[in-house]
């Protein structure tokens, strides 16, 4: 890794200020993606602003909403009795991210801010219609994810929490890349107050996306049977040495079906 300055601000205001003052500064949450990037010399930030001194942790369930502090680690979400009770699919998703070591460092805010096209959390945020709360505003998940590694966050804007409305039913299934164990296809399905929502991660060239054809098919019948025959076009999907876009397109259907079966 290249040399960089390191700051660990004690308040959100200081963190925002540090990031806002320097266009080359970069926020560090759990670092499970960013530290490998640094080690490979693929990024050369001037300053690392470590967010681990800000608090921003904890889980709250009230008013039909699960609110998770941005610096909450995956292992905490996975083990949370409140999350398991309110949105068991979300706890299960957190428990399946990376490996044990990653789950003890990685954070929900970091995952969502990075919007890795194969990350798990973006699919939950999108399918559950989450709200991403930052130091300055609230952003609907539908407006937040803007393409591979792209988000609506401004330079220096820090996610403080993610709010998930509790769905009637939900489940997440993923088909792992055999090498990296990231999602080749991950599908989060949810029956929400606004109707069924299906979000697909791992497969799309533009990162996480909603599967509108499946959502339409599920409108009257939230079941695996309802999406049988719903095609996914391989056109906008990734193809690589592990899975062609055609195979991914097929897997979207299979994995969505399994998620729906799991959601019950």
């Amino acid at each position: 890794m290249y040399d960089f300055a390191y700051q660990k601000p004690a308040s959100l205001a200081d963190a925002v200020k540090a990031l806002g003052a320097d266009g080359e500064a970069k926020a560090l949450a759990g670092g499970m993606t960013y530290i490998p990037v640094l080690k490979q010399r693929l990024a050369k930030p001037s300053t690392i602003v470590d967010l681990s001194g800000l608090g921003l942790t904890g889980i709250k369930v009230e008013g039909g909403k699960v609110t998770i502090g941005a610096m909450t680690k995956h292992c905490v979400v996975a083990a949370s009795a409140e999350v398991k009770a309110a949105i068991p699919a979300l706890a299960a998703l957190a428990g399946g991210i990376g490996d044990e070591a990653v789950r003890h460092r990685g954070t929900i805010g970091g995952s969502i801010a990075n919007n890795d096209p194969a990350a798990d959390y973006p699919s939950a945020a999108l399918a559950l219609g989450a709200t991403i709360v930052t130091d300055r505003r609230s952003i609907a998940a539908d407006d937040f994810f803007t393409g591979m590694f792209g988000t609506a966050l401004e330079q220096g804007e820090i996610i403080t929490a993610v709010e998930f409305p509790v769905p009637t039913k939900a489940a997440y299934e993923k088909f792992r890349n055999p090498a990296s164990r990231y999602a080749i296809v991950g599908v989060f399905v949810a029956q929400t107050s606004g109707g069924p929502r299906v979000a697909v991660t791992g497969a799309g060239q533009g990162g996480v996306f909603r599967h509108s054809a499946m959502e339409a098919a599920l409108a009257g019948n939230f079941s695996a049977a309802a999406i049988k025959g719903v095609k996914t076009s391989p056109d906008d999907l990734n193809g690589d040495i592990h899975a062609s876009s055609e195979y991914r397109a097929h897997l979207v259907g299979v994995i969505a079906g399994r998620a729906l079966a799991k959601a019950g």
């Binding site: 490979q40 040495i241 592990h242 899975a243």
Partner: protein
């Protein structure tokens, strides 16, 4: 203290330090004043190297020196040598282009070393390396064998026309063609053996330490064979007197063959440490391992079996292309020839065999021996072809094997491809494996799987391999530029404890335990009074190291010979002390005894007398109790056996789950059953990795796409079943131990068993063959095509 001799599952003595983080690996070694090297590597598959401007880099903080291939050329540093010469069909020697330590004039693969930056810290060396200005002119690359053999292909080495290293053959083509012309039927199979990247847990590392006062060089390195490295580096590369070079291979975290070879970085740090008069350390990052450790396998073959109406094998004809990569690694040329084609008889009495092998240069990392080395390629070819014969004729897969096995009473058995097998019993290993795998109950399990929506298949591989390489004169006649004996020095200390100095090297195999058990067995010394020393040319006699499952069969046999000498000398001392004739002295259980009397002397009493020779036959016998033996084997050893894989395929996703894996191997005398089981399990894990997961993939331009753990799929625990491992052993007839070797059987026998099982699971889709790795995407494509077609 229980039984610790041959046959005891003694816990591994070395594990305490490994499990407690107290191992001493090369990267743990730090010398006073040590500098750090960073090797700048080509990011181009093939390019002219016009020049390197080091000015800016040399001014960077902490930089002590920068060297390039041109600097080494100025000092007439030699290229990395190749240890095996193959001859073409016409008798001419293979093409052997130079392999410069660092590139000169041209780079030939991504990862080819271009320069070394030596600085106070590794970080500084890396920072400075980014300032090197390297002037390349890109050339079109021959990224794979098909591209390299095409008309008008780019030439990897300007003076090697058509990129052909050699075009070799074994067997009489006319005779074999004649058999084929008259055969009832010919079964043909085109197949590839996928390219693998070894990925030992410990990346390679090297520390060069030149002593200005003595003029001695010490190289600490991650090697399987320190003496071989010392010989190659001092005689061929750096032109140093061997007495001034010490090579230490301390704890080494896995090799699998990839740490046999003499690598550029070893020569670089040794040479550079004298230039800068300070120790120089290099440790590979994992990404460097992918692009600089020798890869394995990478064959394209056509195989044909001529059969009669009963499925009897009449003749085998094979044509193979073998990828050498950009340069010849140390033992590369022998892998697809004498470690491959000579194995093509397998366990079968195929009377005539012809094989031709074209070795091909490509713009890829050099390819060399990797766990099994040639034998997995031969086994995959034979065992897939045998299943294809069954498929094409409708004869049962087990029956076709039984009909063609070399019978147990036919040993020694001379194959048509040079080797003479000394022992084996393939019917027995097959029978026991079928029992252990509950072969007869399979159809019920298949039906059960079907009721769950899964496709279940079972596959069999009845393999043979050759280990314990091997008689020096024989391998010499086949092109080896090395002897392949092994050596042991047994030192009985005055108080009766023992140190073994072995020429083999342990990098995970557990020699410190297994070899000690031989001393327990022969000398009756308890385990905790035996030490095994290996891996340091300043301590051990000149040995050839560990590869090809040779340590016990060859190195253990050397120990037996040395211990025979100890016992013979001990008897003379005992005879003197007990005033008896030497012929009347018996030795057993650590005790010398005058036969037929109760007069005894313990080994300790004898060793004490040998080192304190007050009452001693000093006129006839030298003091001391220490003996060395060099053992040159009479033949290879021939482990074999039967592997049975049972898989279940999810037809919706194509994912293969290995449900059961049964191995019944014949490894000869087993010294430590627990360690043997561990070796077989590890080998099978790698074999399943090759069959299902692993593939080194280059794009058409020569860039390595599977260049990290993110894209190269190593097998993990959840890819593997609980193994059902057993042995059914026949003894090696020509070494004193009877051991054959167990290090590679798992990786050799298992891949075709897995693929045969997959083809069986997919039989409704008319799958006759599938190349490795059988990824879920490939299987889905087959199933999907079947569904769409049907």
């Amino acid at each position: 203290m229980g039984f610790e001799g041959i046959g005891a599952s003694v816990r591994r003595k070395e594990d305490s330090r490994f499990l407690n983080g107290r191992g001493n690996y090369t990267d743990d070694i730090n010398r006073p004043g040590q500098l750090h090297a960073y090797v700048k590597r080509s990011d181009r598959p093939h390019a002219k190297l016009n020049g390197i401007d080091i000015l800016a880099a040399s001014k960077a903080p902490g930089v002590v020196a920068i060297f390039t291939g041109a600097d080494m050329a100025k000092e007439e540093i030699g290229g990395l040598p190749c240890g095996w010469q193959i001859h073409n069909k016409d008798g001419s020697p293979m093409a052997e282009p130079p392999h410069p330590v660092m590139a000169v004039g041209k780079v030939r693969h991504v990862g080819d070393p271009v320069a070394v930056v030596i600085a106070e810290t590794k970080q500084q060396a890396k920072d400075a390396a980014e300032l090197l200005e390297i002037d390349y002119t890109d050339l079109p690359a021959a990224a794979n064998m098909t591209a390299a053999l095409a008309a008008g292909a780019p030439t990897v080495h300007d003076d090697v026309a058509g990129n052909i290293c050699y075009d070799w053959q074994i067997g009489d083509k006319d005779v074999v063609d004649g058999v084929f012309a008259k055969a009832h039927k010919v079964v043909r199979l085109d197949l590839t053996n996928n390219r693998l990247i070894p990925n030992a847990m410990e990346p390679r590392a090297a520390v060069g330490d030149y002593d200005v006062n003595s003029g001695e060089y010490t190289l600490y390195t991650t090697s399987q064979n320190p003496h071989v490295i010392r010989l190659l580096m001092s005689a061929f590369v750096l032109h140093l007197p061997e007495n001034k070079v010490r090579v230490v291979a301390p704890d080494v975290g896995g090799g699998f063959g990839s740490k046999i070879y003499h690598y550029a970085e070893e020569a670089i740090v040794t040479w550079a440490s004298a230039k800068v008069r300070r120790p120089v350390k290099w440790t590979a990052e994992r990404t460097e391992s992918f692009m600089s450790d020798a890869h394995g396998r990478d064959h394209i073959s056509t195989a044909e079996m001529a059969i009669d109406a009963q499925g009897t094998f009449l003749g085998l004809r094979v044509s193979t292309q073998a990828n050498m990569g950009a340069y010849l690694s140390t033992f590369a040329p022998c892998v697809p020839t004498y470690l491959y084609a000579t194995l093509l008889a397998g366990t079968y009495k195929t009377p005539v065999i012809y094989c031709e092998v074209k070795a091909v240069f490509t713009n890829t990392v050099p390819v060399d021996a990797y766990r099994g080395a040639g034998r997995p390629e031969a086994t995959f070819l034979i065992e897939r072809l045998v299943d294809a014969v069954a498929y094409d004729t409708g004869i049962d897969r087990v029956e076709i094997r039984r009909r063609n096995f070399i019978p147990a009473d036919a040993f020694p058995y001379q194959t048509p491809v040079a080797l003479q097998y000394d022992s084996g019993d393939y019917q027995t290993t097959l029978r026991v494996a079928l029992q252990n795998a509950d072969w007869d109950g399979f159809e019920k399990r298949r039906a059960d799987a079907k009721s769950r929506g899964k496709l279940r298949g079972i596959g069999i591989s009845t393999y043979l391999e050759a280990c314990g390489i091997a008689p020096s004169a024989v391998v010499g006649s086949l092109g080896a530029r090395a002897g392949l004996y092994e050596v042991a020095n047994i030192r009985v200390h005055p108080t009766g404890s023992v140190t073994v100095f072995t020429g083999t090297h342990s990098h995970g195999q557990g020699h410190e335990t297994t070899l000690a058990q031989l001393v327990v067995e022969q000398l009756g010394v308890p385990m905790d009074q035996i030490e095994v020393v290996h891996g340091d040319t300043a301590k051990i006699p000149f040995g050839m190291g560990t590869y090809g499952s040779r340590s016990l069969a060859v190195g253990g046999s050397a120990m037996y010979r040395a211990m025979d000498k100890i016992i013979a000398k001990g008897k003379k001392i005992a005879a003197h002390l007990m005033e008896a004739a030497v012929e009347d002295i018996e030795f057993a259980n650590n005790t010398f005894k005058v036969a037929g009397t109760d007069k005894t002397k313990s080994l300790t009493e004898i060793s004490l007398a040998a080192y304190v020779p007050h009452n001693y036959p000093i006129e006839e016998l030298e003091p001391g109790l220490e003996e060395t033996a060099f053992y040159d084997p009479k033949n290879f050893t021939f482990p074999g056996g039967c592997h049975i894989a049972e898989v279940e395929i999810d037809p919706e996703t194509g994912v293969v789950h290995v449900a059961n894996f049964t191995a019944v191997d014949d490894v000869g005398r087993v010294v430590n059953p627990m360690i043997v089981e561990g070796q077989i399990q590890g080998g099978v894990a790698q074999g399943i990795g090759q069959a299902l997961l692993e593939a080194a993939i280059y794009d058409d331009n020569g860039q390595l796409l599977s260049g990290s753990m993110m894209d190269y799929t190593m097998p993990r625990a959840d890819n593997l079943p609980n193994f059902n491992v057993a042995t059914e052993n026949t003894m090696c007839t020509h070494n004193p131990l009877g051991s054959k070797g167990c290090g590679e059987v798992g990786a050799i026998g298992s891949p075709p068993a897995v693929i045969n099982a997959i083809c069986d699971a997919l039989k409704d889709y008319k799958v006759r063959h599938m190349n490795m790795p059988a990824t879920s995407g490939k299987i889905w494509t087959i199933i999907n095509a079947g569904i769409n077609a049907g």
